[in-house]
Amino acid sequence: MKRQVPLFITFFVGTLLIVSVFSPPIETLGEDFSVFFDIIAVFAFFLGGGNLLRVHLTKISRRKHDWAYSIVTLVGFVVMLWAGLFKVWNEGGIAASVTAEESLFGMIFNSVLIPLQSTMYSLLAFFIASASYRAFRAKNREATILLVAAFIILLGRTAFGTMLTAWMPSSLSAMEIPNLAIWIMNSPNLAGQRAILIGIGLGVVSMSLRIILGVERTYLGDDGK
Protein backbone atom coordinates (compact mmCIF):
# COMPACT_ATOMS: atom_id res chain seq x y z
CA MET A 1 0.00 0.00 0.00
CA LYS A 2 2.87 2.35 0.86
CA ARG A 3 4.15 1.89 -2.70
CA GLN A 4 0.86 1.51 -4.52
CA VAL A 5 -0.71 4.82 -3.48
CA PRO A 6 2.17 7.01 -4.76
CA LEU A 7 2.33 4.90 -7.93
CA PHE A 8 -1.39 5.37 -8.53
CA ILE A 9 -1.17 9.13 -7.90
CA THR A 10 1.78 9.37 -10.31
CA PHE A 11 -0.06 7.38 -12.98
CA PHE A 12 -3.31 9.32 -12.58
CA VAL A 13 -1.78 12.80 -12.52
CA GLY A 14 0.74 11.99 -15.29
CA THR A 15 -1.97 10.66 -17.60
CA LEU A 16 -4.27 13.59 -16.81
CA LEU A 17 -1.55 16.12 -17.65
CA ILE A 18 -0.84 14.41 -20.98
CA VAL A 19 -4.57 14.45 -21.83
CA SER A 20 -4.78 18.13 -20.80
CA VAL A 21 -2.45 19.06 -23.67
CA PHE A 22 -4.99 17.76 -26.18
CA SER A 23 -8.23 18.70 -24.41
CA PRO A 24 -9.17 22.42 -24.09
CA PRO A 25 -11.55 22.02 -21.09
CA ILE A 26 -8.61 20.95 -18.92
CA GLU A 27 -5.86 22.84 -20.75
CA THR A 28 -4.94 24.97 -17.72
CA LEU A 29 -4.36 21.96 -15.51
CA GLY A 30 -0.58 22.08 -16.04
CA GLU A 31 -0.46 25.71 -14.88
CA ASP A 32 -2.70 24.91 -11.90
CA PHE A 33 -0.40 22.10 -10.82
CA SER A 34 2.55 24.47 -11.16
CA VAL A 35 0.83 26.83 -8.72
CA PHE A 36 0.27 23.93 -6.30
CA PHE A 37 3.96 23.09 -6.61
CA ASP A 38 4.95 26.69 -5.85
CA ILE A 39 2.76 26.65 -2.72
CA ILE A 40 4.40 23.45 -1.52
CA ALA A 41 7.83 24.87 -2.35
CA VAL A 42 7.11 27.97 -0.22
CA PHE A 43 6.42 25.77 2.81
CA ALA A 44 9.57 23.81 2.04
CA PHE A 45 11.55 27.04 2.56
CA PHE A 46 11.07 26.51 6.27
CA LEU A 47 12.66 23.08 5.95
CA GLY A 48 15.63 24.58 4.10
CA GLY A 49 16.09 27.45 6.55
CA GLY A 50 15.74 25.08 9.51
CA ASN A 51 18.32 22.73 8.05
CA LEU A 52 20.73 25.60 7.43
CA LEU A 53 20.41 26.74 11.05
CA ARG A 54 20.77 23.22 12.44
CA VAL A 55 23.84 22.35 10.34
CA HIS A 56 25.74 25.52 11.21
CA LEU A 57 24.71 25.69 14.88
CA THR A 58 25.91 22.09 15.28
CA LYS A 59 29.17 22.99 13.56
CA ILE A 60 29.73 25.95 15.88
CA SER A 61 28.75 24.13 19.06
CA ARG A 62 31.05 21.19 18.29
CA ARG A 63 33.85 23.48 17.13
CA LYS A 64 34.17 21.54 13.90
CA HIS A 65 36.79 22.40 11.30
CA ASP A 66 36.31 25.95 9.90
CA TRP A 67 33.46 26.59 12.34
CA ALA A 68 34.12 30.32 12.24
CA TYR A 69 32.73 30.53 8.70
CA SER A 70 29.45 29.16 10.04
CA ILE A 71 29.14 32.27 12.23
CA VAL A 72 29.40 34.43 9.10
CA THR A 73 26.70 32.33 7.41
CA LEU A 74 24.37 32.51 10.39
CA VAL A 75 24.88 36.25 10.91
CA GLY A 76 24.14 36.86 7.24
CA PHE A 77 21.04 34.66 7.39
CA VAL A 78 19.64 36.23 10.55
CA VAL A 79 20.38 39.84 9.56
CA MET A 80 18.75 39.41 6.13
CA LEU A 81 15.75 37.69 7.69
CA TRP A 82 15.38 40.43 10.30
CA ALA A 83 15.80 43.25 7.74
CA GLY A 84 13.30 41.66 5.37
CA LEU A 85 10.66 40.62 7.90
CA PHE A 86 10.60 43.85 9.85
CA LYS A 87 11.27 46.15 6.85
CA VAL A 88 14.13 47.85 8.69
CA TRP A 89 14.75 51.43 7.49
CA ASN A 90 11.92 51.16 4.95
CA GLU A 91 10.38 54.62 4.45
CA GLY A 92 6.83 53.32 4.36
CA GLY A 93 7.27 51.11 7.40
CA ILE A 94 5.94 47.59 7.47
CA ALA A 95 3.63 48.29 4.49
CA ALA A 96 6.51 49.30 2.18
CA SER A 97 8.10 47.09 -0.44
CA VAL A 98 10.74 44.76 0.97
CA THR A 99 13.07 45.54 -1.94
CA ALA A 100 12.93 49.35 -1.52
CA GLU A 101 16.43 50.70 -2.22
CA GLU A 102 16.72 52.81 0.93
CA SER A 103 15.85 49.90 3.20
CA LEU A 104 18.49 47.85 5.03
CA PHE A 105 17.45 44.80 3.03
CA GLY A 106 17.83 46.70 -0.25
CA MET A 107 21.18 48.14 0.82
CA ILE A 108 22.62 44.77 1.79
CA PHE A 109 21.21 43.22 -1.38
CA ASN A 110 22.67 45.91 -3.66
CA SER A 111 25.94 46.55 -1.82
CA VAL A 112 26.90 43.06 -0.64
CA LEU A 113 25.00 40.30 -2.41
CA ILE A 114 25.16 41.62 -5.97
CA PRO A 115 28.93 42.40 -5.85
CA LEU A 116 29.54 38.92 -4.37
CA GLN A 117 27.46 37.32 -7.13
CA SER A 118 29.33 39.31 -9.76
CA THR A 119 32.63 38.20 -8.26
CA MET A 120 31.67 34.54 -8.50
CA TYR A 121 30.33 34.99 -12.02
CA SER A 122 33.49 36.77 -13.16
CA LEU A 123 35.48 33.66 -12.22
CA LEU A 124 33.87 32.08 -15.26
CA ALA A 125 36.15 34.07 -17.58
CA PHE A 126 39.27 32.50 -16.03
CA PHE A 127 37.73 29.04 -15.99
CA ILE A 128 36.77 29.37 -19.67
CA ALA A 129 40.41 30.13 -20.45
CA SER A 130 41.73 27.08 -18.56
CA ALA A 131 39.03 24.76 -19.94
CA SER A 132 39.62 26.01 -23.49
CA TYR A 133 43.33 25.39 -23.15
CA ARG A 134 42.67 21.75 -22.25
CA ALA A 135 39.89 21.21 -24.79
CA PHE A 136 41.78 22.73 -27.71
CA ARG A 137 44.99 20.75 -27.32
CA ALA A 138 45.29 18.85 -30.62
CA LYS A 139 45.75 15.42 -29.01
CA ASN A 140 43.77 13.53 -31.66
CA ARG A 141 41.77 14.05 -34.84
CA GLU A 142 38.57 15.17 -33.09
CA ALA A 143 40.43 17.65 -30.87
CA THR A 144 42.22 19.05 -33.94
CA ILE A 145 38.90 19.61 -35.74
CA LEU A 146 37.59 21.32 -32.59
CA LEU A 147 40.69 23.51 -32.41
CA VAL A 148 40.47 24.58 -36.08
CA ALA A 149 36.72 25.29 -35.82
CA ALA A 150 37.19 27.27 -32.61
CA PHE A 151 40.07 29.22 -34.12
CA ILE A 152 37.98 30.20 -37.17
CA ILE A 153 35.03 31.25 -35.01
CA LEU A 154 37.20 33.29 -32.64
CA LEU A 155 38.90 35.02 -35.56
CA GLY A 156 35.61 35.49 -37.39
CA ARG A 157 34.19 37.45 -34.48
CA THR A 158 37.03 39.97 -34.49
CA ALA A 159 37.94 42.88 -36.75
CA PHE A 160 41.29 41.21 -37.35
CA GLY A 161 39.54 38.17 -38.88
CA THR A 162 37.59 40.41 -41.23
CA MET A 163 40.76 42.24 -42.21
CA LEU A 164 42.71 39.04 -42.89
CA THR A 165 40.50 37.92 -45.76
CA ALA A 166 39.14 41.28 -46.94
CA TRP A 167 41.33 41.05 -50.06
CA MET A 168 39.45 38.00 -51.39
CA PRO A 169 37.40 38.49 -54.58
CA SER A 170 33.63 38.52 -54.14
CA SER A 171 33.37 35.16 -55.94
CA LEU A 172 35.22 33.61 -52.97
CA SER A 173 33.32 35.52 -50.28
CA ALA A 174 32.13 32.24 -48.76
CA MET A 175 35.75 31.53 -47.81
CA GLU A 176 36.17 34.78 -45.87
CA ILE A 177 36.78 34.04 -42.20
CA PRO A 178 33.66 35.85 -40.85
CA ASN A 179 31.49 33.95 -43.36
CA LEU A 180 33.17 30.66 -42.49
CA ALA A 181 32.46 31.37 -38.81
CA ILE A 182 28.81 32.05 -39.60
CA TRP A 183 28.60 28.84 -41.64
CA ILE A 184 30.12 26.76 -38.82
CA MET A 185 27.65 28.21 -36.31
CA ASN A 186 24.59 27.93 -38.56
CA SER A 187 25.21 24.58 -40.22
CA PRO A 188 27.33 21.93 -38.41
CA ASN A 189 26.87 23.49 -34.97
CA LEU A 190 23.11 24.01 -35.29
CA ALA A 191 22.62 20.54 -36.79
CA GLY A 192 24.52 18.99 -33.86
CA GLN A 193 22.52 20.98 -31.33
CA ARG A 194 19.25 19.95 -32.93
CA ALA A 195 20.28 16.30 -32.92
CA ILE A 196 21.00 16.59 -29.19
CA LEU A 197 17.64 18.32 -28.64
CA ILE A 198 15.75 15.58 -30.51
CA GLY A 199 17.53 13.00 -28.33
CA ILE A 200 16.64 14.98 -25.19
CA GLY A 201 12.99 15.15 -26.24
CA LEU A 202 12.86 11.40 -26.79
CA GLY A 203 14.70 10.78 -23.52
CA VAL A 204 12.17 12.89 -21.62
CA VAL A 205 9.27 10.98 -23.23
CA SER A 206 10.86 7.63 -22.40
CA MET A 207 11.68 8.55 -18.82
CA SER A 208 8.26 10.11 -18.21
CA LEU A 209 6.57 6.93 -19.44
CA ARG A 210 8.79 4.81 -17.18
CA ILE A 211 7.74 6.92 -14.18
CA ILE A 212 4.04 7.13 -15.14
CA LEU A 213 3.83 3.38 -15.77
CA GLY A 214 5.65 2.60 -12.52
CA VAL A 215 8.60 0.93 -14.25
CA GLU A 216 11.00 3.50 -12.73
CA ARG A 217 10.54 3.54 -8.96
CA THR A 218 13.93 4.66 -7.75
CA TYR A 219 12.51 7.98 -6.55
CA LEU A 220 10.30 5.96 -4.18
CA GLY A 221 13.31 4.11 -2.87
CA ASP A 222 12.32 0.97 -4.72
CA ASP A 223 14.68 -0.69 -7.17
CA GLY A 224 11.76 -2.43 -8.85
CA LYS A 225 13.15 -5.91 -8.43
Binding site: V21, F22, S23, P24, P25, E27, T28, F37, I40, A41, A44, F45, F46, L47, G48, G49, N51, L52, V55, H65, Y69, L113, Q117, M120, Y121, L123, L124, F127, I128, S130, A131, S132, R134, A135, Q193, I196, L197, I198, G199, I200, L202, G203, V204, V205, S206, M207, S208, L209, R210, I211, L213, V215, E216, T218, Y219, L220, G221, D223, G224, K225
Partner: protein, 418 residues
Protein backbone atom coordinates in the same frame (compact mmCIF):
# COMPACT_ATOMS: atom_id res chain seq x y z
CA UNK B 1 7.93 87.62 -57.93
CA UNK B 2 8.12 87.55 -61.70
CA UNK B 3 6.17 85.28 -63.95
CA UNK B 4 7.21 85.49 -67.58
CA UNK B 5 8.12 89.08 -67.23
CA UNK B 6 4.90 90.00 -65.38
CA UNK B 7 5.09 91.17 -61.80
CA UNK B 8 2.97 89.08 -59.54
CA UNK B 9 1.92 89.65 -55.96
CA UNK B 10 1.43 86.62 -53.80
CA UNK B 11 -0.93 86.35 -50.89
CA UNK B 12 -0.53 83.27 -48.84
CA UNK B 13 -3.55 82.39 -46.81
CA UNK B 14 -3.05 79.75 -44.22
CA UNK B 15 -6.24 78.23 -43.04
CA UNK B 16 -5.03 77.12 -39.73
CA UNK B 17 -7.96 74.90 -39.02
CA UNK B 18 -7.44 72.60 -41.98
CA UNK B 19 -3.80 73.34 -42.79
CA UNK B 20 -4.71 73.95 -46.43
CA UNK B 21 -2.50 76.58 -48.06
CA UNK B 22 -4.15 78.83 -50.60
CA UNK B 23 -1.99 81.01 -52.85
CA UNK B 24 -3.71 83.95 -54.52
CA UNK B 25 -1.72 85.17 -57.48
CA UNK B 26 -2.61 88.75 -58.46
CA UNK B 27 -1.24 90.20 -61.70
CA UNK B 28 -0.24 93.81 -62.01
CA UNK B 29 -3.43 94.42 -63.97
CA UNK B 30 -5.41 93.30 -60.94
CA UNK B 31 -6.57 89.87 -62.16
CA UNK B 32 -6.28 87.26 -59.50
CA UNK B 33 -6.22 83.44 -59.46
CA UNK B 34 -6.35 81.24 -56.36
CA UNK B 35 -4.42 77.99 -56.16
CA UNK B 36 -5.01 75.66 -53.22
CA UNK B 37 -2.22 73.33 -52.09
CA UNK B 38 -3.72 70.52 -50.06
CA UNK B 39 -1.34 67.62 -49.40
CA UNK B 40 -3.25 64.41 -48.69
CA UNK B 41 -1.97 64.01 -45.13
CA UNK B 42 -2.80 67.48 -44.04
CA UNK B 43 -6.07 67.78 -45.88
CA UNK B 44 -7.65 64.79 -44.15
CA UNK B 45 -6.43 65.81 -40.72
CA UNK B 46 -9.52 67.76 -39.97
CA UNK B 47 -12.13 65.18 -40.88
CA UNK B 48 -12.99 62.11 -38.83
CA UNK B 49 -11.26 58.90 -39.92
CA UNK B 50 -13.14 56.31 -41.93
CA UNK B 51 -14.32 53.46 -39.69
CA UNK B 52 -12.97 49.91 -39.97
CA UNK B 53 -15.17 47.68 -42.12
CA UNK B 54 -16.15 43.99 -42.36
CA UNK B 55 -16.04 43.57 -38.59
CA UNK B 56 -16.70 39.91 -37.74
CA UNK B 57 -16.68 38.12 -34.39
CA UNK B 58 -15.90 34.38 -34.48
CA UNK B 59 -15.37 31.63 -32.00
CA UNK B 60 -11.73 31.03 -31.08
CA UNK B 61 -11.02 27.47 -32.13
CA UNK B 62 -10.02 24.75 -29.71
CA UNK B 63 -10.43 26.50 -26.40
CA UNK B 64 -12.52 26.15 -23.29
CA UNK B 65 -15.25 28.60 -24.37
CA UNK B 66 -13.26 31.55 -23.02
CA UNK B 67 -12.27 33.45 -26.15
CA UNK B 68 -13.73 35.14 -29.22
CA UNK B 69 -11.74 36.53 -32.11
CA UNK B 70 -12.66 39.81 -33.71
CA UNK B 71 -11.37 40.63 -37.20
CA UNK B 72 -11.81 43.71 -39.37
CA UNK B 73 -10.51 45.48 -42.42
CA UNK B 74 -8.52 48.50 -41.19
CA UNK B 75 -9.79 51.99 -41.90
CA UNK B 76 -8.77 53.41 -45.28
CA UNK B 77 -7.11 56.19 -43.25
CA UNK B 78 -4.85 53.61 -41.61
CA UNK B 79 -2.42 52.95 -44.42
CA UNK B 80 1.13 53.92 -45.25
CA UNK B 81 1.06 57.62 -46.03
CA UNK B 82 -2.42 58.04 -44.51
CA UNK B 83 -1.74 57.69 -40.84
CA UNK B 84 -4.74 59.51 -39.50
CA UNK B 85 -5.78 56.59 -37.30
CA UNK B 86 -3.93 56.41 -33.98
CA UNK B 87 -5.37 53.03 -33.04
CA UNK B 88 -8.55 51.07 -32.49
CA UNK B 89 -10.79 50.63 -29.49
CA UNK B 90 -12.88 47.52 -29.14
CA UNK B 91 -16.25 47.74 -27.39
CA UNK B 92 -18.25 44.80 -26.17
CA UNK B 93 -21.86 44.36 -25.08
CA UNK B 94 -22.53 41.32 -22.94
CA UNK B 95 -26.02 39.80 -22.85
CA UNK B 96 -27.65 42.85 -24.44
CA UNK B 97 -26.17 45.29 -21.92
CA UNK B 98 -24.34 48.55 -22.52
CA UNK B 99 -21.19 48.62 -24.61
CA UNK B 100 -18.04 48.68 -22.51
CA UNK B 101 -14.39 48.95 -23.57
CA UNK B 102 -12.95 45.45 -24.13
CA UNK B 103 -9.49 46.38 -25.32
CA UNK B 104 -7.48 48.30 -27.85
CA UNK B 105 -5.29 47.62 -30.86
CA UNK B 106 -2.46 49.47 -32.53
CA UNK B 107 -2.72 51.11 -35.96
CA UNK B 108 -2.46 48.49 -38.70
CA UNK B 109 -4.02 45.79 -36.52
CA UNK B 110 -6.85 43.79 -38.02
CA UNK B 111 -7.75 41.36 -35.25
CA UNK B 112 -8.25 41.16 -31.51
CA UNK B 113 -8.69 38.21 -29.18
CA UNK B 114 -11.14 38.82 -26.36
CA UNK B 115 -10.45 36.71 -23.28
CA UNK B 116 -12.15 35.55 -20.10
CA UNK B 117 -15.60 35.23 -21.66
CA UNK B 118 -18.39 32.86 -20.74
CA UNK B 119 -20.16 30.38 -22.97
CA UNK B 120 -23.44 31.25 -21.22
CA UNK B 121 -23.50 34.81 -22.49
CA UNK B 122 -23.77 36.31 -25.98
CA UNK B 123 -21.53 39.16 -27.09
CA UNK B 124 -21.86 41.97 -29.61
CA UNK B 125 -18.85 44.05 -30.65
CA UNK B 126 -17.94 47.12 -32.58
CA UNK B 127 -14.53 48.54 -33.37
CA UNK B 128 -13.84 52.27 -33.30
CA UNK B 129 -11.07 53.95 -35.27
CA UNK B 130 -9.45 56.62 -33.11
CA UNK B 131 -7.83 59.78 -34.46
CA UNK B 132 -6.48 62.78 -32.56
CA UNK B 133 -9.90 64.38 -32.48
CA UNK B 134 -12.50 61.72 -33.25
CA UNK B 135 -13.59 58.18 -32.49
CA UNK B 136 -15.58 56.61 -35.30
CA UNK B 137 -17.39 53.33 -34.71
CA UNK B 138 -17.88 50.49 -37.14
CA UNK B 139 -21.17 48.68 -37.54
CA UNK B 140 -21.95 46.15 -34.84
CA UNK B 141 -21.30 42.44 -35.18
CA UNK B 142 -23.87 39.67 -34.88
CA UNK B 143 -24.35 38.33 -31.35
CA UNK B 144 -22.13 35.35 -30.70
CA UNK B 145 -21.26 33.05 -27.80
CA UNK B 146 -17.94 31.24 -27.39
CA UNK B 147 -18.10 27.48 -27.94
CA UNK B 148 -16.30 24.75 -26.07
CA UNK B 149 -14.33 22.12 -27.99
CA UNK B 150 -13.28 18.93 -26.31
CA UNK B 151 -10.37 18.03 -28.56
CA UNK B 152 -7.57 20.22 -29.83
CA UNK B 153 -7.67 19.18 -33.49
CA UNK B 154 -4.77 21.52 -34.36
CA UNK B 155 -2.55 19.19 -32.35
CA UNK B 156 -3.54 16.02 -34.18
CA UNK B 157 -0.05 15.55 -35.67
CA UNK B 158 1.60 16.06 -32.30
CA UNK B 159 -0.75 13.41 -30.95
CA UNK B 160 0.13 10.99 -33.78
CA UNK B 161 3.89 11.47 -33.27
CA UNK B 162 3.62 11.19 -29.48
CA UNK B 163 1.41 8.11 -29.86
CA UNK B 164 3.92 6.37 -32.18
CA UNK B 165 6.88 7.03 -29.86
CA UNK B 166 4.97 6.17 -26.67
CA UNK B 167 3.58 2.99 -28.24
CA UNK B 168 7.05 1.85 -29.26
CA UNK B 169 8.38 2.50 -25.72
CA UNK B 170 5.49 0.54 -24.16
CA UNK B 171 5.82 -2.23 -26.77
CA UNK B 172 9.53 -2.77 -26.02
CA UNK B 173 8.92 -2.67 -22.25
CA UNK B 174 6.32 -5.41 -22.78
CA UNK B 175 8.68 -7.42 -25.03
CA UNK B 176 11.45 -7.12 -22.45
CA UNK B 177 9.09 -8.29 -19.71
CA UNK B 178 8.29 -11.29 -21.89
CA UNK B 179 11.98 -12.20 -21.80
CA UNK B 180 13.32 -10.87 -25.12
CA UNK B 181 17.04 -10.05 -25.02
CA UNK B 182 17.71 -6.44 -25.98
CA UNK B 183 21.00 -4.91 -27.09
CA UNK B 184 21.80 -1.53 -25.53
CA UNK B 185 25.01 0.22 -26.55
CA UNK B 186 27.60 0.91 -23.89
CA UNK B 187 27.62 4.33 -22.25
CA UNK B 188 31.16 5.04 -21.08
CA UNK B 189 30.10 7.57 -18.44
CA UNK B 190 27.80 5.08 -16.75
CA UNK B 191 30.26 2.20 -16.98
CA UNK B 192 32.64 4.43 -15.03
CA UNK B 193 30.24 4.86 -12.09
CA UNK B 194 31.43 1.66 -10.36
CA UNK B 195 35.04 2.63 -10.86
CA UNK B 196 34.44 6.14 -9.55
CA UNK B 197 32.70 4.93 -6.38
CA UNK B 198 35.39 2.29 -5.86
CA UNK B 199 38.10 4.92 -6.16
CA UNK B 200 36.47 7.11 -3.48
CA UNK B 201 36.17 4.06 -1.23
CA UNK B 202 39.83 3.12 -1.65
CA UNK B 203 41.00 6.68 -1.07
CA UNK B 204 38.76 7.10 1.97
CA UNK B 205 37.38 10.34 0.61
CA UNK B 206 33.75 11.36 0.16
CA UNK B 207 31.64 11.39 -2.98
CA UNK B 208 30.06 14.71 -3.88
CA UNK B 209 26.69 14.53 -5.63
CA UNK B 210 25.33 17.76 -7.14
CA UNK B 211 21.78 17.52 -8.58
CA UNK B 212 21.81 20.89 -10.37
CA UNK B 213 20.13 24.08 -9.25
CA UNK B 214 16.54 23.44 -10.31
CA UNK B 215 13.62 22.18 -8.24
CA UNK B 216 11.71 18.90 -8.34
CA UNK B 217 9.48 20.19 -11.16
CA UNK B 218 12.41 19.89 -13.57
CA UNK B 219 12.75 16.51 -15.25
CA UNK B 220 16.56 16.82 -15.17
CA UNK B 221 16.50 17.00 -11.37
CA UNK B 222 14.31 13.90 -11.27
CA UNK B 223 16.73 12.15 -13.64
CA UNK B 224 19.59 13.13 -11.32
CA UNK B 225 17.76 11.72 -8.30
CA UNK B 226 16.98 8.42 -10.04
CA UNK B 227 20.70 8.04 -10.69
CA UNK B 228 21.34 9.02 -7.05
CA UNK B 229 19.18 6.07 -6.00
CA UNK B 230 21.44 3.63 -7.89
CA UNK B 231 24.64 5.34 -6.77
CA UNK B 232 23.50 5.50 -3.12
CA UNK B 233 22.86 1.76 -3.07
CA UNK B 234 26.45 1.11 -4.09
CA UNK B 235 27.72 3.71 -1.65
CA UNK B 236 25.82 1.93 1.11
CA UNK B 237 27.31 -1.40 0.00
CA UNK B 238 30.85 -0.01 -0.02
CA UNK B 239 30.33 2.11 3.11
CA UNK B 240 31.56 5.23 1.36
CA UNK B 241 30.71 8.75 2.53
CA UNK B 242 28.42 10.94 0.42
CA UNK B 243 28.01 14.72 0.56
CA UNK B 244 25.08 16.30 -1.19
CA UNK B 245 24.65 20.07 -0.87
CA UNK B 246 21.42 21.18 -2.57
CA UNK B 247 19.94 24.51 -3.58
CA UNK B 248 16.26 23.61 -3.15
CA UNK B 249 14.44 22.49 -0.04
CA UNK B 250 12.21 20.01 -1.88
CA UNK B 251 15.22 18.43 -3.54
CA UNK B 252 16.73 18.06 -0.07
CA UNK B 253 13.75 16.10 1.24
CA UNK B 254 13.46 13.99 -1.95
CA UNK B 255 17.18 13.21 -1.96
CA UNK B 256 17.10 12.21 1.73
CA UNK B 257 14.23 9.81 1.05
CA UNK B 258 16.06 8.35 -1.95
CA UNK B 259 19.31 7.79 -0.06
CA UNK B 260 17.53 6.47 3.03
CA UNK B 261 15.63 3.94 0.88
CA UNK B 262 18.85 2.89 -0.85
CA UNK B 263 20.50 2.26 2.54
CA UNK B 264 17.49 0.21 3.62
CA UNK B 265 17.64 -1.89 0.44
CA UNK B 266 21.36 -2.40 1.04
CA UNK B 267 20.49 -3.65 4.55
CA UNK B 268 22.31 -0.82 6.34
CA UNK B 269 19.60 1.62 7.49
CA UNK B 270 21.63 2.50 10.60
CA UNK B 271 24.44 3.91 8.45
CA UNK B 272 22.14 6.54 6.96
CA UNK B 273 22.23 10.09 8.32
CA UNK B 274 20.20 13.18 7.39
CA UNK B 275 23.47 15.11 7.38
CA UNK B 276 24.39 13.47 4.06
CA UNK B 277 22.12 15.98 2.34
CA UNK B 278 22.05 19.60 3.39
CA UNK B 279 20.42 22.76 2.12
CA UNK B 280 22.71 25.63 1.20
CA UNK B 281 20.84 28.43 -0.58
CA UNK B 282 18.52 29.02 -3.51
CA UNK B 283 20.91 31.70 -4.74
CA UNK B 284 22.81 30.48 -7.82
CA UNK B 285 26.27 31.86 -7.13
CA UNK B 286 25.92 31.54 -3.37
CA UNK B 287 25.39 27.83 -3.98
CA UNK B 288 28.42 27.72 -6.29
CA UNK B 289 30.59 29.40 -3.65
CA UNK B 290 29.47 26.90 -1.00
CA UNK B 291 30.00 23.85 -3.24
CA UNK B 292 33.39 25.11 -4.43
CA UNK B 293 34.34 25.54 -0.77
CA UNK B 294 33.31 21.96 0.01
CA UNK B 295 35.35 20.71 -2.96
CA UNK B 296 38.48 22.58 -1.92
CA UNK B 297 38.21 21.74 1.80
CA UNK B 298 37.04 18.12 1.67
CA UNK B 299 38.66 17.11 -1.61
CA UNK B 300 36.12 14.49 -2.69
CA UNK B 301 37.51 11.70 -4.85
CA UNK B 302 34.45 11.54 -7.08
CA UNK B 303 32.01 14.23 -8.14
CA UNK B 304 28.66 13.64 -9.84
CA UNK B 305 27.15 16.66 -11.57
CA UNK B 306 23.80 15.35 -12.79
CA UNK B 307 20.83 17.64 -13.34
CA UNK B 308 19.99 21.10 -14.65
CA UNK B 309 22.96 23.47 -14.77
CA UNK B 310 23.40 27.01 -16.02
CA UNK B 311 26.34 29.44 -15.81
CA UNK B 312 27.69 27.66 -12.74
CA UNK B 313 28.47 24.46 -14.65
CA UNK B 314 32.02 25.39 -15.64
CA UNK B 315 32.90 26.98 -12.29
CA UNK B 316 31.91 23.76 -10.50
CA UNK B 317 33.48 21.42 -13.06
CA UNK B 318 36.78 23.33 -13.24
CA UNK B 319 37.09 23.47 -9.45
CA UNK B 320 36.43 19.72 -9.34
CA UNK B 321 39.05 19.22 -12.03
CA UNK B 322 41.58 21.29 -10.10
CA UNK B 323 41.34 18.99 -7.05
CA UNK B 324 41.85 15.89 -9.20
CA UNK B 325 38.45 14.31 -8.64
CA UNK B 326 36.89 11.89 -11.13
CA UNK B 327 33.95 13.81 -12.50
CA UNK B 328 30.85 12.32 -14.12
CA UNK B 329 28.55 15.03 -15.44
CA UNK B 330 25.28 15.05 -17.33
CA UNK B 331 22.74 17.64 -18.32
CA UNK B 332 20.06 18.21 -20.91
CA UNK B 333 21.07 21.80 -21.49
CA UNK B 334 23.02 21.86 -24.78
CA UNK B 335 24.68 25.18 -23.91
CA UNK B 336 26.38 23.66 -20.84
CA UNK B 337 27.50 20.40 -22.44
CA UNK B 338 30.72 21.81 -23.99
CA UNK B 339 31.83 22.99 -20.54
CA UNK B 340 31.28 19.58 -19.00
CA UNK B 341 33.01 17.85 -21.91
CA UNK B 342 36.02 20.14 -21.49
CA UNK B 343 36.29 19.85 -17.71
CA UNK B 344 34.91 16.42 -16.74
CA UNK B 345 36.13 12.88 -17.27
CA UNK B 346 32.78 11.55 -18.49
CA UNK B 347 29.75 13.43 -19.76
CA UNK B 348 26.25 12.11 -20.25
CA UNK B 349 25.01 14.00 -23.28
CA UNK B 350 21.32 14.90 -23.25
CA UNK B 351 19.33 11.69 -23.60
CA UNK B 352 22.04 9.65 -21.81
CA UNK B 353 21.13 11.48 -18.59
CA UNK B 354 17.56 10.17 -18.88
CA UNK B 355 18.73 6.71 -19.93
CA UNK B 356 21.21 6.45 -17.04
CA UNK B 357 18.90 5.08 -14.39
CA UNK B 358 17.53 2.39 -16.73
CA UNK B 359 21.05 1.53 -17.88
CA UNK B 360 22.43 1.27 -14.34
CA UNK B 361 19.50 -0.85 -13.18
CA UNK B 362 20.15 -3.44 -15.91
CA UNK B 363 16.50 -4.51 -15.65
CA UNK B 364 15.10 -5.75 -18.97
CA UNK B 365 11.86 -3.76 -18.70
CA UNK B 366 13.78 -0.53 -18.10
CA UNK B 367 16.18 -1.29 -20.93
CA UNK B 368 13.13 -1.95 -23.11
CA UNK B 369 12.11 1.69 -22.74
CA UNK B 370 15.50 2.72 -24.16
CA UNK B 371 14.86 0.50 -27.17
CA UNK B 372 11.50 2.19 -27.72
CA UNK B 373 13.33 5.53 -27.68
CA UNK B 374 15.42 4.27 -30.62
CA UNK B 375 12.24 3.88 -32.70
CA UNK B 376 11.59 7.57 -32.11
CA UNK B 377 15.12 8.32 -33.28
CA UNK B 378 14.55 6.22 -36.39
CA UNK B 379 11.36 8.17 -37.14
CA UNK B 380 13.18 11.48 -36.66
CA UNK B 381 16.02 10.39 -38.94
CA UNK B 382 13.61 9.19 -41.64
CA UNK B 383 11.63 12.44 -41.48
CA UNK B 384 14.80 14.57 -41.68
CA UNK B 385 16.15 12.55 -44.63
CA UNK B 386 12.83 12.68 -46.45
CA UNK B 387 12.51 16.41 -45.78
CA UNK B 388 16.02 17.19 -47.06
CA UNK B 389 15.54 15.06 -50.19
CA UNK B 390 12.09 16.41 -51.02
CA UNK B 391 13.13 20.07 -50.61
CA UNK B 392 16.34 19.55 -52.61
CA UNK B 393 14.75 17.58 -55.46
CA UNK B 394 11.61 19.74 -55.46
CA UNK B 395 13.63 22.94 -55.86
CA UNK B 396 16.24 21.53 -58.24
CA UNK B 397 13.85 19.85 -60.69
CA UNK B 398 10.52 21.49 -59.79
CA UNK B 399 8.80 18.13 -59.45
CA UNK B 400 5.31 18.53 -58.02
CA UNK B 401 5.38 15.37 -55.93
CA UNK B 402 8.48 16.44 -54.01
CA UNK B 403 7.10 19.94 -53.41
CA UNK B 404 3.89 18.36 -52.12
CA UNK B 405 5.92 16.06 -49.85
CA UNK B 406 8.03 18.93 -48.53
CA UNK B 407 4.92 21.01 -47.80
CA UNK B 408 3.25 18.03 -46.11
CA UNK B 409 6.25 17.35 -43.85
CA UNK B 410 6.53 21.02 -43.02
CA UNK B 411 2.82 21.11 -42.07
CA UNK B 412 3.09 17.99 -39.89
CA UNK B 413 6.14 19.08 -37.93
CA UNK B 414 5.23 22.77 -37.70
CA UNK B 415 1.85 21.81 -36.22
CA UNK B 416 3.55 19.37 -33.85
CA UNK B 417 6.09 21.96 -32.69
CA UNK B 418 3.52 24.76 -32.21
Amino acid sequence: MTDGGRRTRLTVVVLAACFTISIIAVSVSGQSETVSIAPADTAIAVRPPAPPTSVVAEDYKYDNAKHLVLSWVPSIDDQPGRTLVLGYRIFRSSGGGAFMPAGSALPGASSFRDERLSKDSSYVYYVAAVSATDTVASIKTQAISPKREYLHLDLVWLFVIAFCISSSVIYFIWKARAGKKLFVRKIAGLDAVDEAIGRATEMGRPILFIPGIQDMDDVQTIAGLTILGRVAKQIADYDTRIRMPVSRSLVMTAARETIKAAYQIAGRPDAYSDDMVNYVTDEQFGYVAAVDGIMVREKPATIFLLGAFFAESLILAETGNSIGAIQIAGTARPAQLPFFIAACDFTLIGEELFAASAYLSGEPKQLGSLKGQDVGKGLAMAAILLGVLSVTLGQAFDIGFFNWLADGLSTIFSAAVE
